[in-house]
């Protein structure tokens, strides 16, 4: 019997998006939506086990009603068991109420892996042992694999699965040794069949489909900021009798962030850029666009119409046009200002500083009668 696992984590439910005030509610809800997506995908594939490798919640102070909502979503999973590991944001320190509250609401097959001990899944019909490395605080220089290393014996189960939350050395940056750093070597030494990690918001390995790998980092299933350029995904992993691993990445994200910068020389450049953007899933796109360059005056006059197109089609657009100016050349100057008039002279003199020149031009036009 092979074991089918859906591996995710870092949902950060309850995360706020104060930087995007107009769409913050949608973005907050999208994360719950992503969880629903994951469960739907898991059910479609008749997955046995749902593993959440940490940071299910963004912080310890989650409102009760939201905890209930989360559990209700999780209950939609049709498989045998759900494993939830406390991460470094929703850590279990025996103090905050989050997990105790959670536990009072759950029924049966959800396991909160908040202790450093072996969890057997036989009761759920899965012949596997789970070795969790839960987080008890936000920052730590040491990982929590110690207790596993010290084990002298293991239960006789088919599969041995390790769940851990922390930075994977070489892949996830941890400059100050803050994030429970683990190395591949140290993990492989533990001789597990599968290593399901969480913490980094990028999925690992970088391929979409692969076999023979054992170490996975879930990456966030719903993108959470401009620095997150991937569309959000979870791992679907099949472990066969011979312990061979087949994995594929499932897209689960609802929105995606796009951080772009473009230098324009003409209206056409802008048009093409906008066409390209609109063509690439604009409806769920959260776009930050920085435009720079110099456009001919008439093109500049048209640009807003184009940009309106962008605003209409994208879910959210933030445009920084501070460095997009009119091309002020000799031609423009002579066209707009009489020979030897002071604007004429002023603009000529500011030739070597385009920013200042453009600013002067703007002000002149504003003052002109």
């Amino acid at each position: 019997m092979s074991l089918k696992i859906m591996h995710t984590g870092d949902l950060h439910l309850g995360m706020k998006f104060n930087q995007y005030p107009n769409i913050s509610t949608e973005l907050e809800n999208a994360r719950y939506q992503a969880l629903e997506n994951i469960i739907r995908e898991a059910n479609r594939r008749n997955t046995d086990l749902l593993a959440i490798a940490g940071d299910l919640f963004d912080r310890a102070s989650i409102k009760n009603v939201k905890i209930k909502e989360t559990i209700s979503i999780l209950n939609g999973f049709a498989g045998d068991a759900i494993l939830i590991l406390p991460g470094n944001h929703d850590y279990s320190d025996g103090v905050s109420n989050l997990w105790s509250q959670f536990k009072t609401e759950i029924k049966g097959r959800m396991l909160i892996l908040d202790q450093e001990k072996i969890y057997l899944l036989n009761d759920f019909g899965i012949n596997a042992a789970v070795y969790p490395a839960p987080c008890d605080r936000k920052l730590s220089a040491e990982n929590r694999l110690g207790w596993i290393k010290n084990l002298t014996e293991r239960p006789q189960t088919n599969y041995h699965l390790l769940l851990a939350h922390g930075a994977l050395a070489g892949f996830s940056p941890d400059l100050n040794d803050d994030y429970f750093k683990m190395t591949e070597k140290e993990l492989l030494n533990l001789e597990m069949d599968l290593y399901l990690l969480g913490h980094s918001h990028l999925p690992y390995p970088k391929k979409e489909k692969l076999s023979g790998y054992k170490i996975f980092n879930n990456g966030t299933p719903e993108p959470d900021g401009m620095d997150c350029s991937h569309p959000g995904s979870a791992w679907y992993i099949e472990l066969n009798k011979k312990k061979e691993v087949e994995a594929s990445r499932i897209k689960t994200g609802n929105y995606h962030f796009s951080d772009q910068e473009a230098e324009l020389n003409s209206l056409n450049d802008l048009k093409n850029l906008i066409d390209k953007i609109i063509d690439s899933e604009a409806k769920t796109k959260i776009l930050r666009l920085r435009l720079k360059g110099e456009l001919p005056r008439d093109d500049f006059a048209e640009k807003d119409k184009q940009l309106a197109r962008l605003r209409e089609n994208c879910f959210y657009v933030k445009i920084d046009q501070n460095d997009l100016t009119i091309k002020i050349n000799q031609e423009l100057i002579t066209e707009e200002f009489a020979e030897n008039s002071f604007p004429f002279q002023l603009l000529k003199e500011l030739e070597d500083n385009h920013q200042a020149q453009y600013l002067a031009y703007k002000m002149l036009k504003e003052v002109q009668q």
Binding site: N18, S61, V95, A338, E339, M363
Partner: protein
Amino acid sequence: MKINNFSTEIFAGINNRNYQFKDGLNILLGDNEAGKSTVINAIYASLFVNPQLKLNTTEGREFKEKFLPYPDGDFAEAEIEFQAGNNNYKFYKKWSNSNYRGFLELPDGRRIEKVSKIKEYKNDIFPYGKSTYNNIVFSSQQDIKSTLKRINAEENPELIDTINSFLRRAVMELDGISIDKFRSKIENELEELTKKWNLKADAVQNSSRGVNNPYKVGTGKIYDSYIAREQLRSRIKQSQINERKYEELGLEIKELKDKEARIIAEIKKLSEIESEINQRAAVELEIDNLSEKVNKMTQIAKKWPDLKSELSKLKLNQEAESKKIEKLKEEIKRAEKLNEKQKISEQLELINTSQKKLAELENLKTEFTVSPSQVKNMERYKNKIAAAEASLKAAKLRAQLNYSAAESIKVSTGVEGEKIISEGEIFEADGYLRIKTKEIDIEIESAEIDFKSLKTEFKENQQKLEKLKTKMKVDNLSQAREKLQQLTEIKGKIEVENDKISELLAGKSIEKLKAELSKLAELQPAREADQIREEIDRLTSRRADLKTEIKIRENKIKEFKEDYGSLTLLKSELKQKENKIDILKQKLKDLASLPQKYKSTAEFISNLKARREKREMINQKLREKMNKHKELENVLPDTSTREMEAEFKELKQKLEKQKNKAQNLLKIKRVFENKLEEMDQNSFQPLVNTFSRNLEILTAGKYEAGFIDSDFSIKIKSSQSRELPGKFELLSYGTYDAAALALRLAIFDNLFSEYGGFIILDDCLVNFDPERRKKAVKLIKEYQEKYQIIYTTCDPERADEFEANIINI
């Protein structure tokens, strides 16, 4: 450059026109509404307006409104042939939004349609840009007039009260951009950005109004961005601190919880045997108490009979001692009596002695035959004698026998007898002198005394004295005294002895004493009283000790009796208690035993108590910390640090941009002021000259050319009439028209004199009175020599004034 031909099929309200233009003056003659201005506009458009009408530009919109045929013509069209240098060019344009077309036909017949290429060629053909043509070549009289009016109305009249500055202004502001307004604009923008900010120092102006105490109003954008950034920075920092605190607190709580759990486990274990241990303690206590009592009682049981026997022994001793004491007391009595006996004997002895002595003394006494009275008499007699002698001495006579024939001279002096003196002998006599010879007998007496009585007295006393001496058996007074003394002494001694005897007798008679003595004759011997007394004392104190000892034991036994009744009863009670102890000890065996590490049940109990207290303390601490934890939880921001940092970055960038803008504004300002200064310094001389010349013509020489100075004080305003030399109030000359015309032509001339060109004058003389019109015509005639002028008017008479190519619209 000049225009040769213009034609249009449709342009605004005109259609199918074709006009030829010649050198010099061309007059476009036509009624109002005939379309003169339309033609001019069409000419301008054909030269300068792109065929593709962009309706989102002002020009495009205006063109559509004004020049596309009403009501719904969607295109206009025109063609213009012109000459530049010696080359003929043609522009064809069809203006439309979508269906536009246009080309430039080159001298060699090639047609250029590409807009950028056309631009290139235009750069070569036209000496100036569109705006110059717009503002100078094609501008209406009205435009120039407004320019002048505007300059005139500016706030700093001093700036433009010279032709030079006026012209300068006129030229500079040809585009309709006021220098002052632009300056204000820069200032406003700068102020808006930099209020409360010091750009040079790159810091807040007032260091005490930084992020800790920011201004709430009156701040510039840079200040605001800076404050926002700093506030965010400290919020981030604070939230990091809070997060850290929160975590640390969480760890502390965890530790405490573990500690509490451990202690609770310990307490639990201990409290399982707590009650039995308590029982054990009680039983042990009881056993101890009983054992103590048993010990005590056992001792008493032993002691009691001992005491009894001791008591009887002591009592016997006591008796013996008492008896001894009695005996000693008797002995003392005897000793005393013996003493007495001795004493009496001694007394009698002494009395005897004294009596003997007394007898002796009495004997002796008789030998002394002097008495005090006798001595007294002696003294008296002696005194009297002495007195007499003294008196006689007082009357002492001295004599000298100088000569005497007698053989023997007998002299009696004083009271003395006779004596024989020799010749020449000096002799003295006290009071009386008797010289006796055979022949003489002289008696001399001192007259001062009564010698006879004295002598008699003397002699009497002397006799008495002798008598007394004999009686007293002394030779002299001192002897007598001595004897008397001795007698007194003896008397004294006799008295002493008498006293002694009486003392010894002590009131008793000797017989009595003797009788007493005989009574004490028969007495047994005894030791010294002191010795005996010593012994008595010793024995007495020993007896007292015994008494004490006895008392003690008696009391003790009394106690025992009180406590236990009797020895028998004591013994039975003792047995009872011993039995009880055994029972209790058995009971102990059944109770839980004390864990090894505790030395006593008390230790166990106090240990358990201490643990309970500790647990309570830990619990208290735990609750406090958990409250704090909850508090902190509420204080933690719900924006993640990541978001805040991204926001921070954006604020930083915003601040930079604003600072850049401020810097750019400063640069613009600098360049602006520099340029103005430059332009001020630039010589407008040629323009001034031309303008002045024009003016001269227009004002019929009320203005001397040749004295033109760039700074002559020509009053252009009329509001103040000041008497200035050569003053010429230009604008009080009626209208601005003359000035406007002069100016326009001057500027035009200055620009185009090198290139040649054409200029459009739109009925600029319409406001002139005949006098000035003549002058103006003269001026225009001058210009038409050099330039192509297209003059529009509705008045045919105008046409006649000139030599011109008349084009009828």
